[in-house]
């Protein structure tokens, strides 16, 4: 099954905390492309960049539209 296996965790033993995640084999659901993105890392990276861009744009928006700000 995709959510089991690994050095520290037996095949039938579910993992209930992050400590038991160590040493497990990669999950097939986490591998491979996600839509237009090559991997999940790219998806997460894009979301993080998006979050920073939104803050940047709103800061710019505030500065441009508010003449009261020095």
């Amino acid at each position: 099954m995709s959510d089991e296996g690994g050095a520290e965790v037996g095949p039938d033993e579910p993992r209930w905390s992050m400590t038991r995640e160590r040493g497990r084999v990669p999950d097939p659901e986490e591998a491979g492309p996600v839509g237009p993105f090559p991997s999940w890392s790219w998806v997460y990276g894009t979301v993080l960049v998006y979050g920073v861009l939104v803050i940047g744009l709103l800061t710019l928006f505030t500065r441009l539209l508010d003449p009261g700000i020095p």
Binding site: W16, S17, M18, D27, V43, L48, V54, I55, T59
Partner: protein
């Protein structure tokens, strides 16, 4: 409301009921009722996640807040994309792979039964209250628009929502949420266009944006470090991050949504979808409030929007005082209106408008002062804080929006409320049945029996929400009320899950005591300091993790850990 408006309104109700009953045929047993047999597509879940969070309060309270304070509330949402990444990486895999029905069921597997019982109980308490407030918000609208009794409105809306939720379960809830969320997107567009269309001749979109700018209404980012300032970039990023982790990661009304996905991948995609759409949607909703503020430069707004609050003052010895304030407001508003036209004329000619800008700022400060004085009188007469912000948007749409569109916007407000209420009562029902009834009362109950109990529990929570809604009128700004209620519980609940995921030494006893300590600390902090309520989540989570981690070194910790995983 005209016949056309009523037609649009009726069409919405019939369409939602038809869709819900059609979808209810797909349910199979209690797993179908609570988890849609784990076969929902990610985009539908994503829209349902957004619909659950965006209630009518979002439409009514947020626009009113932006009318009074500008765009600063947007900072509350800025941590959402970051929180979604952490949720996808940590929370979602644990819940999805554990094949649980509720988030609290996971805690029993990691800790023990008492941790599950305590967290489940706290969820029921806080979200039961929250469901009542969600129900109350559109009742305000109809009490203003149609002169309906608030309680009758609550009763009608709850009856329809509870009916389709009882019959259709989560499948009906998610598919109706999809339609309701699309209606909300449409409603935002219609509201914005209606405001622009109602601007006076000669005043364009660029002029409107400019007027908002010179009065600081577009100010979206506040970089000040003052922890008592409710909405700053830092309170939003830190407090908001913890609040969103807690809300999307520990609140059953959200966890239940992504547990319905066909795969872990789809669960994650539903949250990524929300990460991209939520902030722009909130920007647009807040913009409606700011544009209303600008619109009311050209049309005189009521000094107090709430007819009930105004009536209470008019029937009191302070009526004369309020009348004086209203007359003063009319005079200053006329001066500001004239100055605004002058400023725009000068601006169109390319002249220096600094003097006009300062003049308008002066009038605006006076008008804000008059409104604050009026709200103060309302508070003194009624003995509770004014909740006038919630009447700004409804008053606008009944006064200025044309027939047909009015019915659509009212239907949108109802859609927003019902899409949140249905999710809440399904989640409350799932926690009641799976964490309470099946766990403690009838562990051997068959699927048919559990399905019947689940439907009854859904009905019970609908009634409970209705009871709370009857008394929700005393709670000030609704949007803040819901979030503040959540803040007393959410941070501490998050702390328990962080212990579960990241602190291997943590035990059930440590987690439970930590939870109580966290909530107690948040309560003390709220009583003794003026820090923004957004930081309560950080405090609550921090205390729980510290206490739980510390207790993991206790003499009985090893035995408790082993017992908890048995």
């Amino acid at each position: 409301m005209t016949g056309v408006d009523w037609g649009v309104f009726a069409l919405y109700f019939l369409g939602i009921l038809g869709l819900a009953f059609h979808q209810s045929r797909k349910n199979e047993g209690v797993e179908g009722y609570f988890l849609a047999n784990r076969r929902m597509p990610w985009w539908a879940i994503g829209l349902s996640v957004m619909a659950t969070q965006a209630s009518a309060i979002t439409f009514i309270g947020t626009t009113g807040q932006a009318f009074d304070d500008g765009m600063e509330f947007i900072q509350f949402y800025l941590a959402l994309p970051f929180a979604m990444v952490v949720l996808c990486l940590v929370f979602v895999p644990f819940f999805y792979r554990a094949r649980v029905y509720t988030a609290y069921e996971y805690l029993e597997r990691r800790f023990d039964a008492k941790t599950r019982a305590l967290t489940g109980f706290l969820f029921l308490l806080s979200r039961g209250m929250g469901a009542g407030i969600i129900l109350y918000a559109p009742a305000i609208v109809l009490s203003v628009i149609l002169g309906w009794d608030e309680r009758l409105t609550i009763l009608v809306m709850a009856a329809v929502t509870v009916a389709y939720t009882m019959v259709g379960g989560i499948t009906a809830v998610i598919w109706t949420d999809v339609v309701q969320m699309l209606m909300v997107f449409g409603g935002i567009g219609v509201a914005l266009l209606a405001i622009f269309a109602n601007l006076p001749e000669g005043v364009g979109v660029a002029d409107a944006v400019y007027i908002g700018g010179i009065q600081g209404m577009w100010r979206s980012i506040d970089l000040s470090w003052d922890p008592t300032n409710t909405y700053t970039l830092w309170s939003g990023l830190l407090g908001g991050f913890f609040l969103f982790l807690a809300y999307f990661g520990t609140d059953q009304s959200q966890v239940q949504r992504y547990l319905t996905a066909t795969s872990l991948r789809d669960s994650r995609l539903s949250l990524i979808f929300t990460a991209f759409l939520k902030v722009p949607m909130q920007v647009l909703i807040l913009s409606i409030g700011v544009l209303l503020f600008i619109f009311y430069h050209f049309e005189r707004p009521p000094l107090v929007f709430s007819p009930a609050e105004l009536a209470a003052v008019e029937a009191s010895p302070r009526a004369g005082e309020m009348k004086g304030l209203a007359e003063e407001q009319a005079r200053v508003h006329a001066q500001r209106r004239g100055a605004t036209f002058q400023l725009l004329e000068e601006r169109h000619r390319g002249a220096d408008v600094e003097a006009w800008r300062e003049t308008i700022e002066g009038y605006d400060a006076r008008l804000r002062g008059l409104r604050a004085e009026a709200k103060g009188i309302v508070a003194e007469v009624r003995g509770t804080a004014s909740n006038d912000v919630n009447y700004v948007f409804p008053t606008y749409i009944i006064t200025y929006v044309p027939a047909g569109l009015l019915g659509l916007l009212i239907a949108v407000i109802f859609a927003a409320a019902m899409s949140s209420l249905d999710s809440e009562i399904t989640a409350l029902s799932s926690a009641t049945v799976m964490d309470g009834y099946r766990r403690w009362i009838r562990p051997q109950a068959g699927d048919g029996h559990l399905l019947l109990v689940s439907r009854l529990a859904t009905g019970f929570w609908g009634l409970f929400a209705m009871g709370v809604a009857f008394y929700a009128g005393q709670l000030g700004s609704l949007i803040e009320a819901v979030n503040q209620i959540g803040s007393f519980f959410y941070g501490s609940l998050l702390g328990v899950f962080l212990l579960a995921f990241f602190v291997p030494r943590a035990t059930g006893t440590g987690a439970s005591l930590g939870l109580l300590a966290g909530m107690g600390t948040v309560f003390l902090v709220s009583l003794t300091t003026d820090i923004s309520w957004l930081y309560y989540n950080v405090v609550g989570a921090g205390v729980v993790v510290l206490v739980g981690w510390g207790m993991g070194f206790g003499p009985s910790a090893d035995g408790a850990r082993e017992g908890g995983r048995a």
